[in-house]
Symmetry: C2
Subunit: 196 residues, 2 copies
């Protein structure tokens, strides 16, 4: 059974997914968690404190579902692993939706907030490198810089598609198709090197 603080953090994740980081109202959070506003301040220093801990809470969850899949099951072919890893972020489940919109919020906020920039850049770099590594497994002969470029494009595209999905511009299934198409195109480009 979740402790009260956890219960509040879970509620916060839901509210953020619904209203955004900058749209989170302490009163709404209290209602969502089924507690009084005062209790929020009892468990967390202030609104910013809630936000900080919620972001940690969310990124903890993200690592979990990205990593999950291991149950000593049939090892995935590199190509499948790549595709799966990218498409994982385009699923219409509460958890992924919450994570994606929080990520989008962070990205958008970072444009106006120096403080967030560094953390965001670091997380992004790690992610890009992971994808580059997966690409490398599918195309072992491709030169590293091409792999890096392809990974940057695929991850940036994923962020773009994610935003469109969340803002109602495209259906999730369509977004997934587009993403698969991009993976195809990038892999084709890596197979037949161009002046890329």
């Amino acid at each position: 059974m979740a402790s009260r603080s956890t219960q509040i953090l879970e509620a916060a994740a839901r509210v953020i997914a619904r209203r955004g980081v900058r749209g989170l109202r302490v009163e709404e959070l209290a209602a969502e968690a089924g507690v009084s506003t005062a209790l929020i301040y009892y468990h967390f220093k202030d609104r910013t404190g809630v936000l900080r801990q919620t972001l940690e809470f969310i990124s903890g969850r993200a690592e979990r579902y990205t990593a999950d899949r291991d149950p000593d099951a049939p090892p995935l072919a590199p190509r499948e692993e790549l595709e799966e890893s990218l498409l994982l972020e385009l699923q219409d489940t509460a958890e992924v939706r919450e994570n994606s919109s929080a990520w989008g919020e962070l990205r958008a906020s970072a444009v106006f907030d120096e403080v967030l920039r560094e953390d965001l850049a670091r997380s992004t770099l790690v992610w890009v490198q992971e994808v580059a590594a997966l690409l490398g497994q599918v195309r072992p002969t491709a030169p590293a810089p091409s792999l890096a470029a392809a990974a940057e494009r695929l991850t940036a595209l994923l962020e773009g598609l994610s935003m469109r999905w969340l803002s109602g511009g495209v259906e999730i299934t369509h977004a997934r198709e587009l993403m698969r198409g991009a993976i195809d195109a990038e892999l084709a480009g890596l197979a037949t090197p161009r002046k890329n």
Copy 2:
């Protein structure tokens, strides 16, 4: 000479680029435009009205600078026209920066704000179709759905790269290279149809 409303919208674009959509204070906008707060409400129904019209204003401007280039100069080859049109959004000039960050904010806000969704979807659709048309000129034999998919990917990627650029994740020159690479890849895919 800009009418008062236009003057206010220009100021709004600047304020949004500086503070974000959700950081826009009516008072700050009034100060930026050099008018009273009440005038804002005289010309626009409410804060949301300002936001909505600013979005239109911005996408109008984007079309303009995308369209500008005509001075009866040497007509561009389709391929160049496509590339130029997309790379136009990745320039480090005040106007483009302003447009891009306002656009990014609007996109991010639309995730949580029903009201902006529709306008945004319409503007996006127009843009995607323009790009699809340009792609069609370069690859006249490609089937329309493939053109549409490629256009969606290229524009979504551009939005993603734009955000990374604005949030300090990549250099503008690198973003441009990545964009060129994506155009190459998509055109290659359209030349040799795949199960895309």
